[in-house]
Symmetry: C2
């Protein structure tokens, strides 16, 4: 991932009011479109149509389609990573894990499009976020794995593979965004969020209490 995706950084690094405003409008629309149809399945016309700007105008702000994608993806990654960052080694393990799962679930419900965009990117081999995965994400995950291992070592958590626990938490929480149509088809409408939260916490953390 490179930086500097927008266009005008040449002369005045400062962004115009219109500029930053339209960039946000474009990225909002792009998140919707890309997360729904995938990169290849989305067209500039769709994004332009959704945000009420003309196609050439999009190219005024972003030189290439790939730049729009890159920008919206980067904005998403920050959001996506945030909850894990807050896992506190000092807090009570089960409570802290419950808080993390709950926060991840909240994000899934609040920003399903972000989850789907990320899922799509990974599903297709992470062509744009390979360095993110092997860099920042890996470091953070290793740090948090150490925290979980420590909790286990001091007997506050049943022994469990930390990495796979993190995978499981991600998988289950994001499932409700990424597979939303399936979830809705099987529950008959949107599932009740509190019920979902309780069930997810039960299933994921129910077996972690030490004897």
């Amino acid at each position: 991932m490179s930086k500097a995706v927008a266009r005008k950084p040449a002369k005045s690094a400062r962004k115009t009011r219109i500029q930053s405003q339209n960039e946000q409008i474009i990225l909002d629309a792009a998140l919707d479109v890309f997360s729904t149809y995938g990169y290849r399945g989305s067209t500039i016309d769709q994004i332009a149509g959704k945000c009420g700007l003309s196609k050439p105008n999009l190219f005024y702000y972003f030189r290439h389609k790939a730049d729009i994608y890159q920008a919206v993806l980067e904005r998403t990654l920050v959001t996506w990573l945030e909850p894990l960052r807050t896992l506190d080694p000092e807090a009570d393990p089960l409570g802290e894990l419950a808080r993390y799962v709950s926060a991840k679930l909240d994000m899934t419900f609040a920003k399903p499009a972000a989850s789907r965009l990320f899922a799509n990117e990974i599903l297709h081999g992470a062509p744009h976020v390979g360095t993110f995965l092997k860099g920042p994400l890996k470091e953070l995950v290793e740090a948090k794995s150490a925290v979980i291992r420590h909790w286990i070592a001091v007997g506050k958590l049943k022994p469990v593979d930390p990495l796979h626990l993190i995978f499981a938490i991600w998988a289950v929480t994001q499932h409700y965004a990424d597979f939303a149509v399936q979830v809705e088809a099987l529950t008959g409408g949107e599932p009740d969020r509190e019920q979902t939260r309780r069930a997810v916490l039960d299933i994921l953390l129910g077996g972690l209490r030490p004897n």
Copy 2:
């Protein structure tokens, strides 16, 4: 989903040796390509290239790109559904669930492309499998939910929402195919399968033993 996706059913419903052979070759290649790049991101040329047939030749066997996709998707759905079908109400609940999770995980490892194809389809709103989700899948899931509820009722399983348990099992097992690049980036290479199996069983079923 409609039937009759291939071409020649008109005169002789019987398929030539070459015909059924090439159809399989095409579908195999199509699964690879579609699961990697998505529907829109895949081209007939890619599929043709991968299976060593010419582009017009593909159109000889399948009239439209969508027909190829449909055919490979249908073939995948059968495979995908199979393990759940075998959930036996008479068996020991925890053992039976463990067997199911294990079988699902085996399928994930054996046919990651199938998992990804399905994931991609759902992720993009299930445009081709809506009726499958709301029909056969829903019925089967409701039947199996009843089984789980029964296990709980007779005290052989800790109370847990059956539907969300099924979701969790799907989410976690398929995660290792759908998010394989992320898993590999974080584990540093392919994760050990037996270790993964133990961890997944621990996490998903560890809290289900009744007191």
